[in-house]
């Protein structure tokens, strides 16, 4: 059997997906199934004086209509898993609005009908009497004393305050020879997985089991929370996440719609399906980012960083979803980036506004940190007249300084930041572009080069540092026929773990890839697991698979020793066979071992039959992937248009199981970051109306305007897990945004442009040029 780990092995999930045989939730059709549609608030903030559903109920084909009052006491409020400080204000999040609506898209009523067209028609027949209230859309405004209070029972729009600090920040700033200061906006974004959310619920009245198919990244956590909301024993709720059409954090959630469909299926004793429209996805599935803050960097004249402080307001939206309050705290953990910064402080105010909740969007808190710091590095370099590559080199943590602990207590596992930087500069032909830039400027053309050296916190994570458990589980089961079943709690949604986990098992057990079946996303089939997010699929989930494979191999070795009539330490595994070391002519196959384990004739009495092992892997630390990206662009100063001329990414995600999958994650992530950098902004006007409510108003990167990426890797294995893997799902999104912005700001430096807030649409770039010229 050739080695599979480290190879670009073609994906095992692809045959079904390229033939249309994949199964996403909306593909599920059940006998007697009816369809739900949800009435949502057109107002950002209003009191509900009355809801009249009578006309809708009378519409032919309507099966049921429910409102918030109908489910009070029947569906418990949606919990939030994160509580960064004990005094955090926790709004009660009912599945349907009861007396007030808090954001455009707030669910008010559900119609269930015989088909999806009738359900949608009937929404128009529901009459709601609203008393519009003044909305609060802007987080800074939300903190003013005269601001309308969103959750009256909480008495304030300030959700909580949070601070993290390490080293002597005040002393650092007192000693500083230079202080660089900049206000930054990390704009609100919409994740836009191509598959909108979908839920199908089916009640088995005989067994009293509710089955919920849902498009989620975390089936077991959905089961835990929804069983609590519906007062169902966890054993009576089965959650299935079949093929999931992208998540990006938007499906790292438990949503009220899941509870509502479960409730309705039980109440009606009929299967119910709800498919989110794209408009609903934009209004009422979580958004990402949304921080406005000021960062200051204290430096010596030679470019040595002395300290850093960041004061920020983070917009929570109207409610918390699963992890809302935790996201900006991740920014705080990664503020020191790749540099030896002796003192750091972040102070944060988290604020309620009349908008959809923010939560984990690919990168979750860390793209913000990288963006801030890498912009600051460039601003400092310009201020001090140092080359941006040089100022980074000067402050990098050195390869021999790992494990490295930041002043606020984060311990980085391993890395070689300078090697990645050097290689990226080489690949990007940095010096050549600098010369070209100079030449171009003489001709009135504006070329810019942007560097971003990032480090991210991934492989989430040690349970003590996570809102819920941070471990992952796996079972490896060798069947009597020698075929292998892997049950993983790490349920993927596009990343390809069916393939990488197969590779790990093939490598460990010496079986053929065709003989391995990876099963995930079904709480009835798979032991409790956590799911995939925070770049943890391989580093945590893969490690659990590796450990379970080790355990089952130990068992197989015992059985083989018995069959060979030798001591256990006499047995050697060569590919799929077990061989006696002293007499290599004696050997048994894995199949023979499996046969014996399931048909244990003359078996030693102290040995259990069967060939199966389960492992729960609890990581001892996070992992810290890193890298350097270089972007070269040209800006047309007449139109504000930016053309990406070159983009190079050199990433270190530790050891790699499948380079092809890694490349896919990196490129996809970078293009998503390109979206944030250049075009995306989820925009609510000052009245709290969502202006970017459809794909036509919220452009995401398309084939013709996405940059072409040159990808390379360096490899410093992580000492945290036996695979040496660090994770790669978010690297592109975390590393890339500042490379784009640094490049554009570098291009426009001669015009006096210091900083432009994202997204760098032609209009925004043009405005910045005009402003700089005017001043």
């Amino acid at each position: 059997m050739p080695k599979l780990v480290g190879q670009s092995f073609k994906r095992v999930e692809d045959p079904r997906l390229i033939t249309g045989e994949g199964q996403y939730v909306d593909d599920i059709q059940l006998p007697r199934m009816c369809y739900a549609a949800i009435l949502r608030s057109p107002y950002p903030h209003a009191r509900i004086k009355n809801i009249d559903t009578s006309k809708a109920e009378k519409r032919e084909g309507v099966v049921a209509v429910i409102t918030g009052k109908d489910i009070l006491g029947k569906i418990n409020p949606l919990p939030c898993a994160a509580r960064p400080v004990p005094e955090l204000k926790m709004p009660t999040h009912y599945a349907l609005a009861v007396n007030k609506v808090y954001f455009v898209g707030h669910p008010i009523a559900v119609v269930v009908a015989e088909d999806r067209y009738i359900a949608r028609d009937a929404l128009d027949l529901i009459e709601v009497d609203y008393e519009p209230l003044p909305p609060v859309a802007d987080p800074e405004q939300a903190l003013r004393s005269d601001a309308p209070i969103i959750h009256e029972d909480l008495g304030t729009n300030l959700a909580f305050e949070w601070k993290i600090e390490g080293g002597d920040v005040d002393a650092a700033f007192a000693q500083a020879e230079v202080v660089v200061k900049q206000e930054f906006v990390n704009q609100r974004l919409i994740p836009v997985p191509m598959e909108p959310r979908c839920v199908v619920a089916q009640w088995d009245a005989g067994k009293q089991i509710l089955t919920l198919w849902t498009s989620t990244q975390i089936p077991h956590l959905v089961r835990s929370l929804i069983s609590g909301m519906l007062n169902l024993p966890e054993t009576h709720l089965r959650v299935i996440a079949p093929d999931v059409g992208g998540g990006f954090g938007q499906k790292l959630q438990v949503y009220v719609e899941e509870a509502l469909m479960g409730y309705l299926a039980m109440k009606l004793d009929r299967p119910v399906k709800w498919t989110e429209t794209r408009r609903e996805n934009f209004m009422a599935s979580i958004h990402g980012r949304d921080q406005v803050g000021v960062m200051e960097l204290a430096l010596k004249r030679d470019g040595t960083i002395l300290g850093l402080r960041y004061d920020v307001i983070a917009d929570m939206g109207a409610y918390y979803q699963l992890l809302t309050p935790a996201i900006p705290t991740l920014t705080g953990l990664m503020l020191c980036g790749s540099y030896k910064i002796p003192a750091v402080r972040m102070t944060k105010k988290a604020v309620f506004t009349n908008k959809m909740s923010t939560d984990a969007y690919r990168g979750a808190g860390r793209p913000e940190a990288t963006f801030l710091l890498e912009r600051m590095m460039d601003l400092a370099a310009k201020e001090l007249g140092i080359d941006p590559a040089e100022i980074r080199r000067k402050n990098f943590i050195q390869p021999d300084e790992f494990p490295y602990t930041t002043p606020h207590g984060i311990t980085y596992d391993s890395g070689n930041y300078e090697a990645a930087l050097n290689r990226a500069l080489e690949l990007a032909e940095y010096s050549r572009w600098r010369k070209e830039q100079e030449e171009a400027r003489k001709q009135g053309r504006y070329i810019g080069i942007g560097i971003s050296s990032y480090v991210e916190i991934c492989g989430m994570g040690p349970s003590k540092a996570m809102p819920a458990g941070g471990w992952e589980s796996a079972t490896v089961r060798i069947e009597p026929s020698g075929k292998v079943v892997v049950l993983t709690g790490a349920h993927p949604h596009g990343q390809g773990e069916e393939t990488s986990f197969t590779q790990i098992v093939v490598e460990e057990l010496g079986v053929n890839p065709e003989d391995v079946m990876v099963i995930h996303g079904d709480t009835e089939a798979v032991q409790y697991g956590i799911g995939i997010f925070g770049s943890r699929g391989l580093a945590v989930g893969g490690t659990a698979v590796y450990m379970a494979a080790q355990k089952v191999k130990e068992k197989a070795r015992k059985v083989a020793a018995f069959l060979l009539g030798v001591e256990e330490n006499e047995v050697e595994q060569v590919d799929g066979n077990f061989i006696s070391k002293s007499d290599p002519s004696k050997s048994v196959t894995l199949l023979q071992v499996a046969n014996a384990a399931y048909d244990p004739k003359n078996y030693p009495t102290d040995m259990e039959p069967g060939l199966v092992a389960t492992a729960f892997y609890e990581p001892s630390n996070f992992t810290f992937p890193s890298g350097t990206h270089v972007c070269v662009c040209e800006v047309d100063i007449e139109t504000g248009e930016v053309k990406i001329l070159k983009y190079v990414a050199v990433d270190d995600c530790g050891k790699v199981v499948n380079p092809m999958l890694v490349e896919g994650q990196i490129i996809g992530g970078i293009v998503q970051a390109f979206g944030q950098a250049m075009m995306e902004r989820c925009f609510y006007d000052e009245n709290g109306q969502l202006i970017t409510g459809e794909l036509t108003d919220y452009p995401i990167p398309k084939a013709h305007n996405s940059p072409k990426i040159t990808v390379e890797r360096i490899e410093t294995p992580s000492p945290v897990n036996p695979l040496g893997a660090k994770g790669v799902g978010e690297a592109g999104t975390i590393g890339a945004t500042p490379a784009f912005i640094n490049a554009v700001c570098d291009a426009l430096e001669p015009l006096g442009v210091k900083h432009i807030d994202m997204p760098l649409t032609p209009a925004n770039v043009w405005k910045a040029i005009k402003q700089a010229k005017g001043s």
């Binding site: 909306d26 059409g245 596009g494 896919g664």
Partner: protein, 156 residues
């Protein structure tokens, strides 16, 4: 209304409501769920199918509009268990991650290669502008189409 449609070479005769979208007809009535829905507003291309050999967005048509015509969906492009070269290309070159955009991407690519058997990268990127993918960043999709083009020209 009664319609007669040929889908993937098979004849269907169905009674549909005049307002039923073609994509819902394919998915809900015929059970061909490989055609996906990402927006229902003609933007994302997840619902792309071939109508008489031309790529169309099936969320922008009513089922009754295709009466008497011929539709090919993702389920209908492999022949005798043999994957279409474009399908092979997507598999070879890692042109998909979550797979949700993939059927639409593949059908749009088939249409492109029919018109232009030897497209440049630029031409591929422009031909796929009506199909959104949030996972791949498109680069490996472009490589997949290039691979398929070579294969169809008999060069691989």
């Amino acid at each position: 209304m009664r319609i007669n449609v040929t889908v993937n070479g098979r004849q269907y005769s169905s009674d549909v409501e005049p307002r039923m979208l073609l994509v819902h007809y394919l998915r809900d009535v015929l059970g061909l769920t490989g055609t996906h829905i990402g927006c229902e507003t003609g933007v994302c291309g997840a619902c792309t199918v071939l109508l008489n050999g031309e790529a169309v967005k099936s969320c922008m048509l009513f089922a009754v509009q295709v009466d008497g015509q011929e539709i090919t969906t993702i389920e209908g492009i492999s022949q005798d268990g043999q994957l279409h070269p474009v399908q092979q290309g997507f598999w070879e070159k890692h042109g998909l991650q979550c797979g949700y955009c993939t059927p639409g991407m593949i059908l749009a690519s088939i249409q492109l290669l029919k018109r232009n058997p030897n497209p440049t990268e630029e031409e591929i990127r422009h031909a796929l502008v009506g199909n959104l993918c949030r996972c791949t960043g498109y680069q490996q999709i472009v490589e997949a189409v290039q691979w398929a083009a070579q294969k169809m020209r008999g060069e691989i």
